[in-house]
Subunit: 192 residues, 2 copies
């Protein structure tokens, strides 16, 4: 087990630093993003970092933009193909529920909403996802205002569950219970 997950002794690029930053953010939050700590984790020193980036702020910015772009071509683009919204929505719920790994960064950024650099990124990402929900609910037959409120409610439930169960570890729930919870969400939030 080496210091990093990539034990190759090759030289580093800016993208390597961005990826390392994102994984560190996912594990320990934005506050823990220190250049010396990152350097140790990558097996180098600060001298390397300040060649690739002008400042710590620049790294965070680059990492956030990288994450935002990567998030674009994720679940949504695959799910968008399903024509029937009453099939698409439950499928979305179940997929999201069982792929909690990519949501670790989102959960970490949720705890860094006091940081000025994080806010606009999270605002864009969240808005896009809520727009996606909104069109789905509208296509499912909900009138415009109800669809808007339902998408807000749904996304709030997602965000809240992330915070409660993911970060706080509450409620202590089993896999089976979790599946039942997801089905309960589907039954409650999706019109039938």
């Amino acid at each position: 087990m080496n210091a990093s997950s990539k034990p190759e002794r090759t030289r580093l690029s800016a993208e390597d630093w961005e990826d390392a930053a994102l994984s560190l953010i996912a594990e320990q939050g934005v506050n823990a993003l220190a250049v010396e700590a990152l350097a140790r984790q990558l097996g180098v020193t600060k001298g390397s970092f300040y060649w690739h980036f002008r400042t710590r702020e620049a790294l965070l910015q680059a990492a956030l933009e990288r994450w935002e772009q990567y998030g674009e071509r994720e679940i949504i683009s695959q799910i968008e193909a399903i024509p029937d919204p009453r099939v698409r929505l439950p499928e979305l719920f179940r997929r999201v529920a069982h792929e909690l790994q990519p949501h670790r960064v989102y959960a970490a950024l949720l705890k860094a909403l006091d940081h000025p650099q994080v806010v606009p990124v999270m605002a864009r990402v969240s808005q896009r996802r809520m727009d996606f929900l909104n069109t789905a609910f509208t296509q499912a037959g909900l009138p415009p205002e109800q669809a808007l409120n339902r998408s807000r409610l749904t996304y709030a439930a997602y965000v809240g569950f992330l915070q409660l169960n993911f970060t706080l570890g509450l409620p202590r729930i089993s896999h089976e219970e979790f599946d039942h919870y997801v089905e309960h969400m589907i039954a409650t939030l999706i019109p039938h």
Copy 2:
């Protein structure tokens, strides 16, 4: 406009420091809780602080416990008196929705869930509130498992909305729209 909200030049007590700490947490988060900054805001120096508290950690602990105890005798104890759960639940929703001021600390602590001192407090508070919801949903006629899941869903929606609208400022919503959203929540989440 003085440095603090209390321009009296009287001497300080430990409780004054705890209150100041809580208001600073509400405004700038737990990370911003620095003793020198607090001292400046109170118009004194560190010398005062370290007479009342052994360490910064101790202040945070005391402030958190103070907040937790204060939260006990809040909305819940007043709402608990309403016997009919189908009246109690909507009333709870509306009350909580229009008293967002006391929730600022909760929203700030939600962003500090990586802090070891914050986690147990938030776990206790959140668990108590979910228990309250659970008994209400049970009394409203939901079978045990559904009531449990519904209370989880409801509380997650609350937490998520706090993060999205309160901290992130998304969606940009008017008072009227907000009222409609609350009514939509009531109609969707409370059995009828």
